[in-house]
Structures are given as C-alpha cells and as structure tokens.
Amino acid sequence: MKIEVPKKYIEKFIEKYGKNADIGRLQAAYERSLITKGEDVGVIAAQSLGEASTQLTLRTKHTAGIAALNTTSGLPRIVEIFDAKKEISTPTMNIYLKPEIEKSKQKVAEFANKIIEIKASDVITSYNISLRRKELTLFFDKEMLRSYGFTLKDIDRKLSDIKLNTSIEENRIIIKDQSADSVKKLIRLRNKIINLTLSGVKGISRVIVNETEEKKYWVMTAGSNLKDILKMDEVDQSRTMSNNIIETAEVLGIEIARNLIIKETLETLENVGLVVDIRHIMLIADAMCFSGEVKGVNRYGITGESSSILARASFEVPLKHLINASLEHDIDEFKYVANNIISNQVAPVGTGSVKLISLDYGRKDEGKPEGKNKEK
C-alpha cells in the first residue's frame, strides 16, 4: 500500500525546492522514515514518558518573580494530568480579552478586579447562633464593607435571593429559620451563607494582569471557572483557557480536552528541560480521550478497561477481575501482550505480528503464508 506524503511536508518541500522539484525524493524520504507496521507504539510512548519522568522534579519550583502564580509542576503535575483528576491542585486560567479591550491596562485591570470572587466569609466579621430564638446573626464592619464596595442592603438582597428570612439591624443581619430545631442545622445554614458568592466569578480567588511583548494585557487567575468566564462579553473565547482538563472537556468538548492534555504535558516537561516527542504524548492523550470522555491512566480508567482479563488482573486487584470474569462467563482471547507473556507465547506485536509458514512442512490447514516478513 502506498502511503501519501502529508500535505504539510509537500508544501514545505515545494517552498524549499520550487514547484518543479522531484517529489519522488520526498516520497522516498517519507517512506524511509515511516513507523514500522506492527510496532508496539503504546509501549514506546509509555517508556518515553516513564523514562523521562525519572528525571522530573517532585517539588514545585517556581522560577521567581512576584507576579507568577504558584502552579503545580514537575512529576506531580504529570501524574495529575494522566490521572484525569477532577479536582486539580492548582487550577488556573489564562484569560484573553477582546482586541479592543486588551490594549488598555486600565480596562483589563478593571475586568480582573471584577472577576475576583468575594465570598460572604470575606466580609462577615463574626456571627452569633441562637437556638432559642431560632436565628443566626451576622456581624459586619461597615468600613470593611465599603472597601469591598458593598452595603448591608446588597448582602441582604443576596441572602433573600436564596430564600432566607432576613432583617437588617445596624451593622447586623439577622436570619430567622423557624425550621431549625438543632444547633447543627443552624451551623449548616451558616456554612451555606459563608460560601455564598457576593460578587465576581465563583472559584476565582486571585488575579494577575500580565503584559505581552506587544503591549497587550491578559489575565491569569488562581482558580478556574471556564463556563462562567466564557459567557462574559469582554472575553475572547477563542484564546481563553483553563488548565483543568476535566472542566475543559465538559465546557468545550473532548477534542479540546485532548489538545489540552498534550499542551499541558509538553509544557510541564519543557519547564524541566525534558524533550519528549509530541507523538508519544498524542498517543496517550488519544488513548485517554477516544471513548468520548477523559479517562485516567489508572485502574478506574483506561487500564481497567483493557479487553484482556489477564491484562487487567495482572495490573491491580487481580482477584476482583478473575471473580467477575467467572461470574459473567468471560473469555480471554490470547491476542494481547500480557496474556501471551503469561502463557509463554509470542505476543502479536512487532515481529510477532507476522507469521512465516513453510508450506512444505507446515500443516495444510494453516493456509497460505500470511503477510510479508517484516523489515526494520
């Protein structure tokens, strides 16, 4: 089978040698550089990353600069990415604004301040619980409130929004809850109020305004909330991104999540000065994402979904897999790597994926020689 040279290489070739150049040269070079058929590329990808990861740092090393946010890097970050963790340890977003806004530092800063989440706990100075009166009293410092740009009324309105019976007295807000029959219930109510978002975007705890070389400004945040940020008018949706892969998959879809896995992995490795070819990372990202949702490289994710029972059993918790298999009357076909290693047979990868049968001596029912012998 002849395999066509990808367009990008043809274009590059024509650009370099002109239209009349012999394209056969490119074809020959391309075919010479092709991956060998039957190659166990999964293992090569796994080893490329695994071997490189022994050189990664474990601690987060932030390369100075006050403006930089402390993001997880090195080995913990790689583990986090491949685990497809829902809650990552340092979610951040890079928010780019529409072209007309991003040139003005002031406007960008205004935007940045707007999205910082201010929780009720930030403005409440103290609280009081009374079970006898079945009420919860919140105390406020008016000076502090003003510095955050709120009035008691604003807060009262917010509380009323979540259907609470409130009243204002001087610098207090009193919440009555007739159904409260225990302190526990009132404390639960207090916890609910404390986590209430008064302004800004939920989850954004810090913002930093950065400047590009072209004198444009963009916002980096601690905390991530892609869904709400992308809804905002000022935001340029095409460039804004989060480093939370699961969140990205939910908001923007699996393709973007796949690209994000590749980008994040490459960046993490690059920070430590390691080079791993993008193909290997692509393969892992594709294996994680091809089912349509992001699955981690662990026993709850893609490793646990291997088609071979023995392969799953030999990874982790073997008994569970064997018992489930026997209940469901599963059949483990020996066409994978692990079960053929277990049974001392040649695994159908690499040179094992081709057969050479001598018709003179081979049994008749083995048929004609299959495929060609492989060269490398």
């Binding site: 395999i3 990008k8 550089s33 469901e328 483990d332």
Partner: protein
Amino acid sequence: MRLDTNFVFSKIYGIEFGLLSPRMIEKMSSVAITSSELYDIDGFPVDGGLADMKLGVTDPGLICRTCGNTIKDCPGHFGHLELARPIFNVKMVPKIYDLLNATCDSCGRILISDSLLKKATSTMDLIEAREGLIGKKRYVRKLIRHAKSINTCPFCHSKQNKVKLEKPYSFIYNGQKLNAADVRERLERINDADLQFLGLNQDYSRPEWMIFTVLPIPPVTIRPPITLESGQKSEDDLTHKLTDIVRTNQRLAENIKSGAPEVIIEELWDLLQYHITTFISNGTAQVPIARHKSGKKLKTLEDRIKGKEGRFRGSTLGKRANYSARSTISPDSMIHLDEVGVPIQIAREVTYPERVTDINIDRLKSLIKNFNGYPNASYVITPDGIRRKITENTVQNILDEIKPGYIVERSMLNGDIILFNRQPSLHRLSIMGHSVKVLDGKTLRINPASTLPYNADFDGDEMNIHVLQTEEALAEAALIMNIKNNIVSPRHGLPLIGSTQDYISGCAILTRKETRIDKSTAEDFLVFAGIDADLNRPTYSGREIFSMLLPKDLNFEDESSVYKYSKDEDTYVSIKNGKLERGIIDSATIGKENGSLLQYLFVQYGGDVTSKFIDQLSRLALITLTKFGISANISNFDLPNKTMEEIHKIFEDGNKEVESMLKEYDSDVEMKIIALTNKMRGKIRNATRDGITGTANEINYMMITGAKGSIMNFFPTAGMVGQQLLRDARMNNGYEGRLTAHFKRNDMGLIPRGFVVSNYRDGLNPIEFFLHAGSSREGLMDNVIRTPVSGYMNRRLSSALQDLKVADDLSVREGNKIIQFMYGEDGLDVSLSDKGELNI
C-alpha cells in the same frame, strides 16, 4: 530429520472463565477426602487424607496413583470434600447480596417487569454491538441497581422484604439471620432466563454455585510439604488450613448425625465458614486473621495471586532466565561500540546451542575436544533430545557418534550476539544486542560511549548478559535490538550514544583551526583510529584528519557549542563533500543526547556507518588528547579582581535592599526577598561568565565545548554560592527566631537566613557549610521520594498502552478499537526521521 516434531503448531487461543458446579467439582476430583490425618505412623500418606497419593506426589521416587507419573510429570489432581452444611464463598458475598435483593423473595423472579425485560434485551444487544462487553456490563449493573430498588414483585405481586448484609457474611431477612442453606435455596429458585440480566450465565455460573456444598481440594503439588534437616515434614500453609477445614467438617457431620443441639451445630457451622473463608482469603474485613502458632499470617490462596510477588506479577509476567550472567562493568575505550567484553569464565559457562551441520561439524568437534579449555563445548543434545555432558570419559564416544542433527552447547565465541541489560529497565534501550568480545579479567567491559541508554556508570554498577538460544531471537537481537540500530532514541530522535567529556575535549582540540599535525604523528593517529588513508604531505591540519572519518558525500552544517558561545565564524561547522571546511566538532555535533551530526548520520547512512564513526572518533579524540593534552588547575578558577569586586558589590547592594525592605512591613516581603536573591544569583552568574577569560582557560574550554560542566557549576565555585533554599523558602528552621546560635534573634537579613557569601574554591565557613548541606539534603530526599512515584506512573502507562500497535494502514489500534487513524498524525517514526520532522 523429522522437522514437524520440532514445531509447535497449537497455541492457546483463550481462557474461558466460569464457576465450578458441585457436580463438576466431584467429576474432576480424584479422591474424596474423608480424613484429617495426613500420614500414618510409618509416614505414609493416609488414604482419603489431605496427602493422599491420588492427589499427586511430591516425593521423588513415589508414583502418583491417579496418573501413574513421577514427581516430574504428574501435574497433580484435585480432590473434593463433601461439606456437612453449605458454606458461603466470601468472594461471592457481594454478588449474592445483589442477587437476593434483585429477585423476588417468594417466586425468585427478577424484580423487573416482563415488558421492561424485553426492552432490556434489545438495549443490551445494541449496547454490546456499540460499546462492547464493557458497555454491556455497565448496563447490567444498572439493571441490577434498578431491580434492587423495586418493592413489589411484578410477577407474583408480593411485597418485598429486603435482605440486609452484615459484614462479612451474615444476611438478615425480616430480622432473622439467613444461613447459607436458606440463601442457597433462594438462589436455586432464580430463573435461568433471568440470569443474563443479572450478569450471570446459566451454563457457567448458576447463582447457587456461589455457595459451596462440595469443596475442591487442591492437589498436593501446589502445597508440597518441606522436609526439614531433622527429617521432619513441615506442611504448607494451605495444608494447615485444609486440615482445619476437614476436621471441623467432620465434627459438624458427627454432631448433626448424633442430633446435637442446634446451638452447637450453629457454632461449628460458623467455625467451618471461618476456616473456608480464611482458606480463600486471609484479609477480609471483620474476619479475624488466621495465624500460625508463632503469630505469622497464614499465606492463603488470595495471597498467592495478588501483589508484586504474587502469581501474576511475580511468576508469570516476570520470569527468571537461564543462560544469563551478571558482573560489575568497567569501561574499555578500545572495544567497539557494539561490543561487550565478556570474561572467559562467563563465556565458558553460558552456552549457545549450535546445530551440527556438514559445514560446522569440524569446528564443533574441535570445541568438543577442548571441553576443558576455551573455546569449548560442554553438552551435546542428540536428535532424541537426550542431553549429554562432555567429560573425560564421554568425549571420545561423543566425537565418534556426532553428526548433523545433533546440537552442541558451545561456549560463547567472539562475534556472538547477546543481549546486554542494566536495571532498572526503564525503556527499550535498557536491553540491546551486543556482540561478544571475550577478554581476560572478571568484569564485563563496555565502551563508555554507550553508557547513556543504560544510564550506567562505573562506580560499581552491575549488568546482565543473556545468551540467545534460538535463531529467531538471534536474528532479532542482531537486526532490530542491536545497539547500532538504536543509536537514536525513539523518545526524542536525538542520539543517546555519543561522546562525552574527554572525547569531546579531544575532538574539539583536533578540529581547532590552529591544530597542525606532522606526517609521522598523523600516521600514528590514523593507525590508532583504524583509518586507512595515504599520507603524502609533511603536515596536516586536524580538520583534515577528522575529515577522513566522514562519508565522502556528506554535506552538513550546524552551529557548534563553541560557535553558540563565541559567534566566531570559524567555529561554525560546515562539512562539504565529506570535508570539514570549518568548525569545531564538539558536544553540539557529537555529544550524547545532543549531537546533530550523529543524528544526521544515523538517519542518512544508518547504524553501521554511525557506530563506526563514533568508534573511530573516540579513538582519534583519545590519541589527540595524549598528544596535545588538556589539564586544569586551581588557577582556572581565579576570577579577575574586578569581577570579584563586582560580585561583592552585587551582594552588598542586595543586602542593603533587603534591609530597606524589612524596615517597612509587607506581608509579601519573604517572596520579594526570594525573588531578589534569585535575581542576585543571575547577576552573579553573568558577572562570573564575563569574568572568565577566553578559551585559554581549560575549565572554560570544557564548558564551552560542552565536554563537562556549565556556568551553573562554575559560578558557585569561583564566584559566590548564593541563597540556600529549603522547601522553596529561605532557611528558617532552627532555634527560636534564628537559624543557629550565631545570629541575632529575628534578624531577617540575608546572611542570617542562609545566604552563602563564600565560594567553593575558597571554602565555606562552618555555618555556611551547615546550611548548604541542609539545602542539599532536600535534593537527596526528593530523589528518594520521586523514584517510586515515577516508577508507578511508568507501570500504569505501560499497562494501559501495551496493546496499542500500528496496523498495516499505519493506524494505531488496540484490538478492534482505533485509537489514531494515522500514527502521530503523519506516520513518522521519531527515531528514523529528523527528530520527528521530515527535513530533506
């Protein structure tokens, strides 16, 4: 010669999993166990005991009463034990719990209505077709969850009382405990037709089979007794447990027979349940752990299977190998890159089976004759498969009878292909094919150019060799796994094999513009490097000598390390038609994990040319160094006074800035100080770099050629060490408010918080030394913690991706799932292309 007998045509196609029915257990049983005794007074196995000779034999000399074989060929045979009362299989308890609650407590049908079941059948098929078995299983789980929530039976309309599970294996129904017999009776009622919705199969896993009425007794061959030195037999843990089971079962049966009170029977029943539970798994939650008298945990069936040393990971995925050897490694620059120096002792001991043909019979005969020396042969295998040792007495016979068709196990010879390995085998380049070079001495010898893929050094590292025993393996080792064909790493497309340290210094000196070599010295060089060329001029330049290594049609251009540093046009590497016109050959072109020239050679000319090039290059570099030499001395680390003043000024300025920072309170002050110290380190580094004078400084020459060291090593040695950090913060642990008693309390200045003003050359003062050591310790600990984390990640990745392979249309598939339509989007092999690009 009957060829067909030597080939195996049958392969295991697959394994089918299922539950053993009581009937099946009885059918495959060779003996019913009736006695808890193992041996009689004479030490012979009791009939019907747990060591019955029908279960197989473990003593050499005894004959199995089932198959008539001796220990070598008897595979062992199962027995069975008729249980007095049914017993739960612990591992099935969760499933039994599901089944009890998903089926009607009076009629036994599944708690899903007929119409829904019909719909479920078609949905199930659809999901199976679309998502495969895993999707189907997920759907069945959903069905069971649904059935469990139904409270009225859709078939007999009776109200359901749900069963509660009290761990580990008590089922409570209507406030009463269901015993195993009751549960079994309920499970028997479940309809065959409903089983598919419960994730079961009528022929392979009837629900009542989850409760033992007959216990299979494993053959003695899997639990052989160990004969101690005193002649006493020590039984295996499993046998111990089985004796308990048989004994309790007997007592239970007797008590039932004699009509003992219900309480006593219940108690014995529970005991039997406990013993069978701990026979299967000795770690179930809320079941007391069965122990030896000494308090040691009994090793049960589950323990044999799971974990790193268990059956899967310990025995079947990791196997031990014969025909291998291990020794300390040491460097040998004079052997070829693809060779490994093997001590004669190893070469004699580890053999290769060579088939006798008309062509090699004389050579093999001479090896047999020399069975005591080297090269020798140690065994002969006749066509009947009999293996005969060659000794003084047998040698003549063997020599007389040997003819084509025999196999001779001969010692390793020069040129044999073997595998060479160093653990941890993190990537495929940790095991490569080398050719043997038998040498004196006791270490394995390796060319220092090929240490990087193995991550080996010579501080006591040991490595393994494996001698291949079949022609197929040999062919793969010679053609695919050979080190020559693995010079470029598949990870990033850079050569892992290349020059380091002195080889680079030597090469850089050789290719300097001013290097001139007279004819006789040049002849020495060429002989040493193994280059065949005619010399007819009185002097040659180093570059001319170097050019003799290159293929005649090579055209290559790249920046050298020196060029990157000096921007001197003369150091820019330019090779035209195999002639090095200008440029210094250094780490950027021939270095490990770096060398662009090596990478280019490998992709354009292949492994043989590249490995020969590296070989000759190494020797040329060596002889250049012996002729011209390079040596460093302490004055290489002298910086001009001006530079030292500058560095101290950087410190003074920084110190002043910190003092002024500390005067005003700021919650971010620590962060700012750390940022400042980082900036200071950069300034010190730059000042130091500017202070070193040119290429005359040998240390600097090594640095700029990339032979060894970098400015990051140099500036703390010659300039100033700088701030010591611990956990990303300035050092702050120690006495109250201060690091050591030598400082004032609460002094947050630079020096009291771990700034080292000295440099390594002048030496650190004791406090600085202490703090510096503290900071260094962090790196050591980091390394210790990191190794298992990354090892586990590696294992997970390998496990997840092991079945992905490139199909004939260059798509990547796992079984019948397509992962990528084109490998890496363009189908290129990283190690065969130009670092994953196609540049021509």
